[in-house]
Symmetry: D2
Subunit: 408 residues, 4 copies
């Protein structure tokens, strides 16, 4: 079992470096907005997570790798000490990229040592924390894709992460499935890994409703724009209307009209908008307004979870090294995270993890909305029906999509 975990550790750790392989050295330093982080920081932070919550906790007389890294690479764990302000991560020219990789190597060796020689009595807790650390690193792998995309977008030269033609996508008809209501179970209830915020499993009463068979497409969203969607206050939440007017939004993030034709910036370069592909990178405000314009609504997270349990995730996207959403046949999910109409709050009898790791999820249960599913940039084994992703309603640099719903 230690061997398996060690192998898993090495596999996932290696993936982070592989994601950064196409970057120029200069790209590691970029922080385009306060929400994104420099790739270098991501690489250091996930390493710090292992150092802090494993090595510091379980290695006797552990000597910290560098006295300042706890300050530099702590993200938001107030109970672990003070930290570099989030918006100033881009100021860290030091440690250099080489030093960060050296940090990774050093910690990897020590973790391997810890796994191999762990005391049996401590093993369950060690294994649990390493598992958490690996899921944490996978989250940051997705963030790396998100942040690289945004960082590149803000550079006037618009670098391309991985030059590649986007796949053709056929039109897929939208159908509606009526689903009965009733008292259902929601949340995670197995022995395997899930975050604390997915637990405990609990009962939810659902009304009968109907769900779209696939995500809304670029063509459908473009129709909303052309119908004056961004100029009609009656379609918008009050906060959303204020926000889009203040920021001058007229289309989803990464859309750009060139010679009268909508294009989209992707990790594979600019391309004309594919009408059949699912619309990506809308905020909650936009998703909600689009749904209202369509005479529909967004699904509740329990409605969506209930549905996703019936589908396999679309993990093959990542395997194909195409980091752009594709229209599925409606037989999978995982192309884009799906906005729900559910604010991110605690499940009944929710218990955060103990100690500093309790800061992981619970303290964000305010002002954010749940997204379900997964995206084409999500590590395939990081997708499950009970997974609760969450973002502020104005966020849209994440790979978000829209699935419509309505009352039955």
């Amino acid at each position: 079992m230690t061997a398996a975990l060690l192998q898993e550790y090495q596999r996932i750790r290696h993936t982070s470096a592989a994601i950064c392989a196409p970057l120029a050295r200069d790209d590691y330093q970029l922080q385009s907005i306060v929400e994104t982080s420099p790739p270098k920081w991501h690489l250091g932070h996930v390493t710090w997570f292992f150092e802090t919550f494993l090595l510091q906790a379980f290695v006797k007389d552990y000597q910290t790798f560098h006295p300042d890294y706890n300050y530099l690479f702590n993200s938001y764990y107030q109970t672990v000490g003070s930290m570099q302000p989030r918006g100033e991560r881009g100021l860290m020219s030091r440690p250099t990229v080489e030093e960060v990789y050296a940090y990774r190597t050093a910690i990897d060796e020590r973790i391997a040592d810890l796994i191999t020689h762990a005391d049996a009595s401590q093993w369950p807790e060690i294994a649990a924390r390493i598992t958490l650390g690996l899921h944490h690193e996978q989250q940051h792998q997705e963030l790396l894709y998100m942040d690289i995309k945004h960082n590149f977008w803000r550079n006037p030269l618009r670098p391309i992460y991985l030059p590649k033609p986007l796949p053709e996508q056929d039109a897929i008809p939208l159908t509606w499935e009526t689903r009965e209501g009733g008292l259902i179970d929601s949340g995670f209830d197995a022995a395997s890994f899930a975050y604390d915020n997915e637990r405990p499993q609990h009962k939810v009463w659902l009304e009968a409703h109907r769900l779209a068979s696939r995500l809304s497409t670029n063509a459908e969203y473009r129709a909303f724009i052309e119908d004056g969607g961004y100029q009609r206050a009656d379609l918008w939440l009050a906060d959303g209307w204020y926000y889009i007017k203040q920021h001058g939004w007229q289309a989803p993030l990464y859309w750009e009209k060139r010679d009268g034709v909508w294009h989209e910036f992707t990790l594979h370069g600019f391309a004309p908008l594919n009408p059949n592909a699912p619309v990506a990178h809308t905020s909650y405000y936009e998703a909600d307004a689009f749904a209202r314009w369509a005479g529909k609504r967004l699904p509740l997270e329990a409605e969506l979870e209930h549905k996703l349990r019936e589908l396999p995730p679309q993990g093959h996207f990542t395997d194909s090294n195409t980091f752009h959403p594709q229209a599925g046949s409606g037989q999978h999910y995982g192309s884009l995270w799906e906005w729900t109409a559910s604010p991110y709050t605690a499940y009944p009898r929710f218990q955060p993890l103990e100690g500093s790791m309790g800061e992981y999820n619970g303290k964000f249960m305010c002002n954010q909305w749940v997204l379900r599913g997964g995206a084409c940039i999500t590590p395939p084994d990081h997708i499950r029906p009970t997974y609760r992703n969450f973002f502020y309603p104005h966020d849209r640099w994440q790979f978000s999509g829209i699935r419509l719903a309505e009352d039955a």
Copy 2:
């Protein structure tokens, strides 16, 4: 029935003027922060509501009272036209106070005329809208108290709205009531008036839980402060911690230490903090942190609604002309609005009102939290168990209080 409605109309309209009676002419103009409005504006706005949604809609060839009032007194009805920016209501020295009262008188006459001579076929809709307009005016009566208090607080002279000694308040023991879970009904389901956001009645699954018999007191909250509550990040939501640090909050709004003793600014002047009175004017962030510190949580709105149905409201507070919360015996509610752990969202199958009045409630269902109950400044007949009040998590100029809950 028209006579009854007319009488009700006149009674409620008169109350607004009565609330403003203690003001100096100069006080009518004040807008201390963007959230508060000048009393003069409130008086005009509620009148504009009747003019716009009744007279404009039902009086043939209606001549508007003043061509600019639709712009000046529209609050947030985007579908009715553009409006004076909210933060600039304090710039309206004109119309003068006299002119606003003249506006009220003129509209009152025309509404009386409309009620008296309404066509039978239109009567149901007219009656419904007047009823809505009266509830709307009652909301603004509460806002008048809230805003006057805040406006006065920001004036260095700290004027007193109504000089009066505060009542003595005895300590009331806190007990816990265990309440069974199960599938309950939530929401309004009668023929009488309720806002659209209280409907439709629907089923909610509740877990067994326990509720405090009374609101938390000043003494209890002071213990939280003295225990370093405002310095311990682990007690706070991430957004809350950021907010209190950014704004330097160390205590509830209106608390002020004088010679080492906590005092409280009230509508009846400054007074030493009464340890037995319910703590008022905390934000959601503070209420949530206090509950976490106490090892409890805030109740869900359905839990609280279920409980309030069993209690009579404490309407006698208003009757006593004491605009300050008092500890009840636990046999009433309505001293302070009670923060819940429920974000303000739509009930299943929620339908906003048609047309512009649909902007009343639905478009605010984002980023806000539900408060239940009512307050000592709420018109007594404006309190009911299904009433959903809502504020941003950082708001605290409303008369908010804290009732603790826990899982059973």
Copy 3:
């Protein structure tokens, strides 16, 4: 001499109230931007000046009129104590207008008493301070006009201070006067009153130059606009270009196009722009850009002072109760304050007044520019060639105008 000073005191004090006579009670409270103050505050502040620097200083055992007025009505005298933040003067609904007038009456009585019974040994200092206080009050009389105009402009109803048709104005040809350079005297050198910043008289070397015979007109400024003046970066100071783009300026303050015709908001109401009237309410940035566009420059303050010494001021404007600039024949000055190309700094051997009154002028000698002359709203006896008015380069709510110059 005491009788004369008392008479002068009463005359000037009375003028302040007269300026406010056309106001509605509600107008006294307005503060449209941080730079303007409520009329009520002006009335209180100038009174506080007399109370603080005369009564407090010279009346034995003086009992302050109100313990909080030193905080409320102190403008910027750090050495006198803390003060209400400038941007929050509009929050002072108390003291009421009545109370402020009562304050004025009370202080006037005590000042009259002080003048009448002043000890001979103290008289010179008392007389000097009262004289300063009266000039100070005259400055605030001009500010009252400026601020009322701006406050009214920000009210959507656009109230009119004094309804009145604006006078006809004929076109006056622009001629150029060549003036020799050399070593001239600049600054005030008489026994009568002048501010400390006008002293001491000192030598300045001037190059030969030419001055326009009159102020630039609305027609001339409109030609600048129509020639794309606000779109040509090469005409602007770097800070100015940034500022006008950030604030979206396209014309002077108070200009508004109605049905394709430029109108101007004045204290006498809106009127079509008079092409022959001097252009008013431009910032330094705009005046400088206009001059560059015209192939000219703004005059140095010494150049202008030298010229103004030869002209009589246009005090008759105020006598006519027309608070709007008129084109003079070139034989007067005082229609608008004239921007100069001179930053506001200390004269050689400048000595600020002693004590708190040293804060009057000297501490503002940074980031501001000198204007010379006087305006149609300036009390006529408050105009003199050596007077140094000063504003930030972006300010334009003062009655500023443009006189062109060039090297000879």
Copy 4:
């Protein structure tokens, strides 16, 4: 003559790269505040200057090196086209450092070619522009030191640019030299190079005055701090007082108290404050307040220029590779730029350069103050008595110092 200019070109171009030699690749990307620029940008911008104003202007059918570099590397030349916003220079991860150096090499070759083969008729203009470009590059060499220092200061690891012990510095007594006033010549009047803002030479009348023999020291400034200098409003300009309170300034930039002892961050690392070294990195506000506290004033720029003409510059500092100010014997200048009491404005009959190069200096003549002399990081041949450096009164990341003056 072409050979000499080519040699000079190569020498100065090489120096820029030499300054960056100690940097890690990661450091090239840093922009700590809007005022500083990434070293990579500096290297590209000065190269763009030669490409734009030489190659584009004089090479027939010139093919631009890269179509986007005009946008990326234009600093503030509005007439040359739009540009990357100043505060977003840190987002340019591309071009990479290698690509920027390749850009330098390519332009250097073409400039060498242009110099070698220039047409005789164009030579004077070409030579003049290359000379301007080299002085421009020297300005950016000084900016490189300034910006690297600030960038490193903002990095929590506080990297050291060049590890090195700071030299000992002895106390040097302060003496005062009385200097006669009268009509003097100010400004540049030779055939050799000077910026347009140093011309034309013109007459200035000076009063008799006295100048300090050396710059004020750290010990003297520390006495100002210990005397409550940052808490006494009467010492400060109004804008300065507001600024230091808003930003919480308590000492010069780069001062830091460690274990009760003042230290200073330098390009050679942290070191205890040397009491005898000249105080560096104060803003104008602080220099002015310090002078007022000392009962003195800052010198006028003409006073200082007149004095500097008598002294040799301290160019040896740069030769020693010590980038930190040293107390001179009073027989040199050039250790720190000396704040003057003169706002930066145009000399009489000032004429900016023609075309885009006219944007170099003239458009900044507002809101800034002149500094004279030169600093230990200034290229020695870039120092002359007539040189007018200028910064905003709140700027202090430049190497500024204080020389006191007083009226005689």
